[in-house]
Amino acid sequence: MSTWTLTRRDLLRAAVVAGAGAAGLGGIEVVHQLSASPGPTGQTTGAVRRVASMCQMCTTACGIIANVRDGRLLTIEGNPADPNSQGSVCAKGVAGPSVLYDPNRLLYPLKRVGRRGEGKWKRITWEEAYTEIADRLRAIRESGRPEEFAFQQGRNRSTDIVARFLDAFGTPSAFNHRALCSLNRRAAILSTIGDSDWDLGDFENSRYILNFGSNWAEAHQGHIPVAIRMMRARERGAKIVTFDARLSNTAALSDEWHPVRPGTDGLIALAISHVICAEELWDRDWFDRWTNYPAEKYAEHVAAYTPELAEAESGVPAEAIRRIAREFAAAAPRCTTICNRGSAAHRNGFHNDRAITVLNALVGNMGKEGGWCWHPMSAWDKKALPEPGPIAPKPTARSLIAEAKDWPLANAWQGNKMRVGEIVYLWIKERRQQISALMTYNCDQAWAWPEANLVREVLADEDLVPFHVCLDVMASETSNLADIVLPWTTYLERWDIDSRPPQGLVDYVGLRQPVVAPLGESKDLREIFPELARRIGGGMEEYFPWATQEEYFERYFAPVPGGFGHMRTAGVYVDPAKKPNYLPYEKELTPEDLEGTRTEDGVIHNAEGPIGVMVDGVARRGFGTPSRKVEVHSGFVADRGREADREISPLPVYEPIPGHREQLAQGRLIMISFKWNVHNAHRTMQSKWLQEISHTNPAWLNPATAARLGLVHGDWIEVTSYRPIDPQVPRGDGSRVGSLRTRVHLTEGVHPQVIAIAHNAGRTTGGPVASNGRDRAVLPGHEPPDHGRVWWAGSLSVAQNDILPIYPDPVSGQQAYHDTMVTVRRIEGTA
């Protein structure tokens, strides 16, 4: 504190200068306008404007309508014209205004003036920010090592502009979070059917749904579009059976919930396959016609996976497995599976999801109405709506971290590079790749990544990361470790072309548009990147020729009937001529398709590769795999494994998680994580409306387990985690990772060998709402306890990610979120 004190004389001098209107002293000006007759109080002016746009509170991107009056967003509702969400939105979607008008939002470019991480900032102008960032990036680009500029994204719904900038710059160091999310599921589906990496069960028309660890009612990537169809199916009598280690709200909405030991979903699917084969409940004709492996041989393969073995490993009774197998097969082809992180986010998740996918082939439901379906487009039709040129070429520089060659399936598919996100900061720490500048975009890796404390350590180290720019809506653990913070617009203040895998099996395109003007000085990437490109120069600027964002989108949406104007009004477009993607593999090739082709072992090739397959003497399109059939036996993955010196079984198998049996026998538990229905990632904890609903995360324990450990409801416990005992995993030496202190929540709704903790908690920065009042500095006023304030301040809120080991599946690189072994002991006192 300065010893200088302002005196009344100083004040007088300053005010006199101010009053004289000296340069720089001008303040807020009030103008007294003549008004004929002052209006009465309480009246509103102006009508409510309804603006169609797209949500981005999570990644599902549901269509929304924003109700806006006098430039202020009042409420958000669903857009009935959106073919995926059909007018529904979840609690997160409704809470959009609380993020837009969040008192703790970042609204000005900031530059740190203290040590990195100290939290001392000054405002700078955009001009200053642009100059400094462009100077840094230009120097990297001109050094001839563009890969030293790394881009870390979280959820990115502006893929066109991000790829354009990074490609124009020439950096391949684009780090995403797919390995922390859906990698194994995608890899399993891609290797099996080739057409897509995303299954879209035709739930609405289905009669029987087997759910392996997907929490679609709360957190699935297809959340609302899936949930509304599931509920319609159930109203019509469909049966939903859920296998999950925890009684999620999805499990609660199912007809049956079977608690499973984590990592055994694939074994259950193989045991169901065993029953279907043994009792010949299969669609053998379909399997033999449309897969690359004979049904008889697959029956031999699954013979060892008996329901009794599955019961011993998973805990699901053998009789239940038999009954479910029969019911599932009897409903075929109007039956389907769905799976997600419960089955995929494991060390053996690739095979789990392969086994589940192939189960569909066994009953012949693939691509059929009410069956297991997919769509070749994960977004909009990019042939009908191509990106406006000029398009930058892909970088020729190489990034060791992005290539992640230790994991053979991470980047095995052209155009679907999944990376291995969880190893990025470990490898930077190990100096495997030099990083000279890092730009973080909509990501809080310093809180959200496994071993987040390691990420914080790396980001705090100016030798490892000499320059860090963070672009986000809100302050976070990551922005705290930046040199420059750029205030990003919320999804309610910016433009995007966007769409999701179509749950209705017909592709569509949507527009995200500003429903209000950007608050403060916030800007979107679509404004920042072209400006940086111009300042970096060296040809980059040529890829950003349009004058305004509107002009860019006018060009983008020109092929839509009614063009950009239609999109601005309706928010979405579906081509009425398109039909649902049923039975795409049966499509016959035309004489034009067959011109100049050759056929080898039944596979039809043109100059670019396989395009179809001969089936019963007819040339059909088949599947997008090398054999043009469902690859029950994947030579492709086995080959990729061999190239990386890793053995990958070409058939779906059950590989027990190394070390689990031994450690479970010692009384250790498996720690899993989960999401609540009102939370997504770091962003939603910033929403006061959502935090009011859910703001705490005690550890779920089964009463039988608690009794064994001498614990009762509400006890304080210390949970200590260990690295895997697995030579194929980095640092897989079984050593201790870390501990957290939390309280016990007793419930029968969790498997007895599991401790479950929601990961939507444990923020330490970002304001009182996000941190349950831990971030004391932000509490405006200390005591007044009115209900509008953070009444839940001090509630238990534990950061689980800090004690999750970096644990990539050796095959794919998927983070094994649900395989962490822990010990639990009772402690006295509090956190």
Partner: protein
């Protein structure tokens, strides 16, 4: 009511102290320190004293009901507020705006309405918080004097 105090406080909570104002006030601290303090107090990340009635009165959103009521007040009395570009003012329930209005209105029934309905319910408590939280002058003294003017 001391118009100088209102004018200066309005200016101090709305934007950084620049070179001419620093000189007029006789501040010994370098501009960068003053800017960092302004940021810490009013802008963030994690501002210590967000100067908005809505935030201080516990509304979940900046602006909100407090801004709507102030806009309504300004419209009824034919008042228009012009915030210079670069000021850290997101909504009209900002203390800087309310003080500028009070300064403009001087004394009389309209000023009394502004004081009673808009400023006094939150500003004195807020200014006490600011006085206690600020590490540098002139924020400490300005907050104290302004509170004394309003109460």
């Amino acid at each position: 009511m001391n118009a100088d105090v209102l004018l200066l406080t309005s200016r101090l909570v709305s934007t950084e102290i620049d070179a001419p104002l620093r000189e007029a006030l006789g501040c010994p601290e370098p501009l960068e320190e003053l800017s960092a303090e302004f940021c810490r107090l009013f802008v963030g990340p994690r501002p210590v004293c967000p100067p908005y009635a809505s935030v201080q009165r516990g509304e979940p959103m900046v602006g909100g009901r407090a801004e709507r009521r102030l806009k309504d007040f300004a419209a009824r009395h034919g008042l228009d507020v012009v915030v210079p570009p670069g000021f850290a003012v997101l909504a009209l329930d900002h203390l800087g705006v309310e003080l500028a209005l009070l300064h403009h209105l001087g004394d009389g029934p309209v000023a009394a309405e502004l004081l009673d309905d808009h400023l006094r319910p939150w500003a004195p408590g807020y200014l006490r918080l600011l006085e206690e939280s600020a590490r540098l002058e002139p924020y400490v003294s300005a907050a104290r004097w302004c509170r004394e003017e309003l109460t």
